[in-house]
């Protein structure tokens, strides 16, 4: 009997698709799934979080009440102004605003859960008048009123939990990793809405909107001064120019007075800032 082995043609047992092509298709598919599921989780988590009663939100925010700062003149002034702005906004009585003053040279301000608002010395120093400050506070109170902080936490918690299940990460600090203790991430829609709410409150409070847009000019100059490292306030905020335009349109539409004497800061304001 005669035995022989034929020469087997090459490539009959391997697929001819290039490995990189397979790689690209699979990675694109994976990314699409991740992005879509993150979006769905974020939307769902945000929706559910907006249904959390405010009393529960306050319970979550108890960490802030423990670190109650000593009552200083600057804090008193800021708190009084915030109370006036919230009164002008007709904020629900259980949404008590608590102002926290941070004596750091960071040009930042943010609102977080439980009606806590953080104002940094660095930003306050740059503001030209009380109206701009009232607008800043009004903007942050607007976030509180729209429940943006808790929605943001809900979104992040849902996304990080979902990704944890999907990708098997061992990071279990859900609340810790979602910015409960750091700055919230708000969407541009949330920012625009808070701008509007804040502006309406300031107009109510002073009877005019003079000096309000100074806030955005200050923010603009801050981001221009450090183009590579924009202040945190800008990370998700709409570009100041767009915001100024949006607000100007609203001012014209409502027929609000733009030209009026701005309210200056109290005489000791700069001393309070430099002393703290």
């Amino acid at each position: 009997m005669k035995y022989e082995n034929p020469l087997i043609p090459e490539g009959i047992n391997t697929s001819k698709t290039h490995a990189l092509k397979t790689f690209l298709i699979l990675v694109a598919g994976l990314l699409a799934i991740l992005i879509i599921s993150a979006w769905l989780l974020g939307a769902g988590g945000g929706y559910l979080a907006s249904k959390i009663p405010y009393s529960q939100e306050k319970r979550l925010a108890q960490a802030y009440s423990e670190e109650a700062a000593p009552r200083t003149e600057i804090l008193d002034y800021l708190q009084t102004l915030a109370d006036k702005v919230s009164a002008a906004m007709q904020l629900a009585p259980e949404m008590k605003i608590t102002v926290h003053y941070v004596a750091e040279d960071v040009e930042n301000a943010f609102a977080t859960i439980g009606g806590n608002i953080f104002l940094y010395k660095g930003l306050l120093e740059k503001l030209p008048n009380e109206n701009a400050l009232a607008m800043l506070i009004g903007h942050e109170i607007g976030h509180v009123r729209h429940r943006d902080p808790i929605v943001s936490i809900g979104q992040n918690a849902a996304i990080s939990t979902g990704m944890m299940l999907l990708l098997g990460s061992t990071d279990t600090g859900i609340l810790g990793s979602t910015g409960l203790l750091t700055q919230m991430q708000f969407s541009r829609d949330m920012e625009s809405r808070s701008d509007e709410t804040g502006l309406i409150a300031v107009e109510q409070l002073y009877g005019h909107v003079s000096g309000v847009l100074d806030l955005y000019r200050v923010l603009d100059s801050i981001s221009e001064a450090s183009p590579l490292d924009p202040p945190q306030f800008f990370s998700t905020h709409p570009i100041s120019e767009t915001r100024i335009n949006e607000l100007s349109e609203l001012i014209v539409e409502m027929g609000w007075k733009e030209k009026a004497a701005v309210t200056p800061f109290p005489k000791q304001f700069s001393t309070w800032l430099s002393d703290s």
Binding site: M1, Y3, E4, N5, L7, E10, N13, T14, S15, T17, A19, L20, T22, F23, L26, V27, G29, L30
Partner: protein
């Protein structure tokens, strides 16, 4: 975090380039040796041919362990998620089978065998179950070498 991503991308790129270079090199060597050893047939039949009494029979083995590169393993992980044929492992197994057979044949050739009968393959996956560990495959080819008695070493 960014360091881990960079390391991952670096390993992926290195795995791709080094892996494909080594694979091409291996295939060249396989094709060359297959042509050389083609004169020595290896068959799966276990029925002895006529005149088998004049042959001495001896077991010949060829064993190889080949590992998969980082890039291919990553693609396989993605296939794990999406399903479909794990194309990135096809060349790995193809190379391993052919290399094992070649090693068995070259052992048979050293013994001056004229034919290898009853050829079989055994495969084993090394590091099985270790998840993200190195994925290697072992292939053992074995058969019965038929060595003409007067030529037996």
């Amino acid at each position: 975090m960014s360091f881990q991503i960079l390391l991952f991308l670096l390993l992926l790129v290195l795995g791709y380039f080094i892996g494909s270079y080594l694979e091409k090199k291996h295939y060249r060597s396989i094709i060359k040796r297959e042509a050389e050893l083609n004169k020595l047939p290896a068959v799966a039949s276990k029925i002895l041919p006529a005149g088998a009494a004049s042959f001495e029979q001896r077991l010949v083995l060829g064993n190889v362990t080949i590992s998969v590169d980082y890039f291919k393993r990553f693609i396989a992980t993605l296939h794990n998620f999406f399903g479909g044929s794990v194309t990135s492992y096809e060349t790995l197994l193809d190379r391993a089978r052919r290399e094992a057979l070649l090693r068995m044949k070259s052992e048979a050739k050293k013994l001056n065998a004229g034919l290898v009968m009853n050829v079989k393959y055994e495969t084993a996956s090394i590091y099985k179950g270790s998840g993200s560990g190195v994925g290697s495959v072992e292939v053992l080819a074995y058969g019965t070498a038929m060595i003409p008695k007067q030529a037996a070493v």
